[in-house]
């Protein structure tokens, strides 16, 4: 493949200046520069400009940039999570209260009681049944 270069191809000239691009086209440009005074002068001028750019050194102050350590936002005490010991104590307390309530209400294994309505029946009489027999013959 034959590469060509024409005067005025600034893109190719810049690529040559910075030594980027295909080696074949760079060889072609190098050959062109030996024959073309205008392009050769152009490249020399750009090289001198690049050289002068190296003199531009910014003042370098002492930089001690540090990222601030992120601090978690303070929560009100009533929203802050409880410490582990307090959570354990609360769990024990809740369990104890539940157990106490269970014991007070009775044996949970006992058979279910009759409905409360049965308790409304009058209790059986404690007096002995007396057979009353009236003799109507004497009347």
């Amino acid at each position: 493949m034959s590469e060509t270069f024409e005067c005025g191809d600034t893109g190719a000239l810049v690529a040559y200046l910075y030594e980027e691009g295909e080696p074949e086209i760079r060889e072609v440009i190098a050959g062109h520069l030996t024959r073309c005074a205008a392009c050769s002068s152009e490249i020399d001028g750009l090289r001198l400009t690049r050289q002068s750019l190296q003199a531009w050194v910014p003042p370098m102050p002492e930089l001690t940039l540090q990222m601030p350590v992120p601090t978690p936002a303070r929560m009100p005490w009533w929203r802050a999570p409880l410490p582990a010991w307090a959570q354990a104590a609360a769990a024990v307390l809740i369990f104890g209260v539940g157990l106490s309530v269970g014991l007070v209400r009775g044996d949970v294994n006992a058979p279910p009681q009759e409905p409360r309505l049965s308790r409304l029946r009058p209790p059986p009489s404690t007096h002995p049944r007396v057979a009353i027999s009236r003799d109507w013959s004497n009347a």
């Binding site: 810049v14 190296q54 003199a55 050194v57 910014p58 930089l63 940039l65 990222m67």
Partner: protein, 196 residues
């Protein structure tokens, strides 16, 4: 042991601030220099540099490593510079201070560099800074990324969001304009370049 950027980024993502601070130490100088050259003022450059790292730190959870960390930082920094220029609406490159303190110059002198050479370097630096001010923001940024940060044409195109051919045009036109500006200064610039 020196950790890679990727390792430090992975640790930073888990909330390790020290790892992120190591990245800051590693990259703060190149990014300060970038911001200074684009904006032209020390205070602005420092602010943009700080802001670049702060934004990166906040955006770390969204950084999935699809690009290099430094490329991602460059993108953030350049966006901030662009915003800064638009917000401030002022000339991007400031004048170098004209008064040169001999004591300060001596402190700056590199080994094997005479005071005369240092003055020449400072003078040329001021001339270049002045000439860079005349470029458009896009031309200036393309030249800065190429000359001082060693990016390829393709990387600059990615940063600037433009075709590769546009990057070459910006570089060529920018360099040509700089060349004209420097040539206007006459033989003095050529002498200064020889000394530096």
């Amino acid at each position: 042991m020196t950790r890679t950027d990727e390792e430090l980024v992975a640790r930073s993502r888990t909330g390790d601030v020290d790892s992120f601070n190591q990245l800051v130490v590693r990259w703060e100088r190149p990014f300060y220099a970038l911001a200074y050259r684009v904006l032209g003022r020390e205070e602005d450059a420092r602010d943009v540099c700080q802001d670049t790292f702060l934004r990166a730190y906040r955006a770390l959870p969204g950084f999935k490593g699809q690009a290099k960390f430094s490329s991602w930082l460059y993108r953030i920094a350049l966006n901030l510079c662009r915003d800064w220029i638009r917000r401030q609406q002022r000339a991007p490159v400031s004048q170098m201070p004209e008064d040169m303190d001999p004591a300060a110059l001596l402190a700056e002198t590199e080994p094997a560099e005479s005071i005369e050479d240092l003055v020449a370097r400072r003078e040329l630096s001021a001339i270049v800074a002045e000439a860079m001010r005349s470029l458009s923001e896009e031309q200036r940024t393309a030249i800065i990324l190429k000359e001082y940060h060693g990016m390829t044409f393709q990387e600059i195109a990615d940063m600037q969001g433009c075709p590769l051919s546009t990057v070459k045009t910006r570089l060529y036109q920018g360099l040509s304009q700089l060349r004209r500006q420097l040539e206007r200064r006459g033989q003095g610039v050529a002498e200064l370049v020889k000394r530096t």
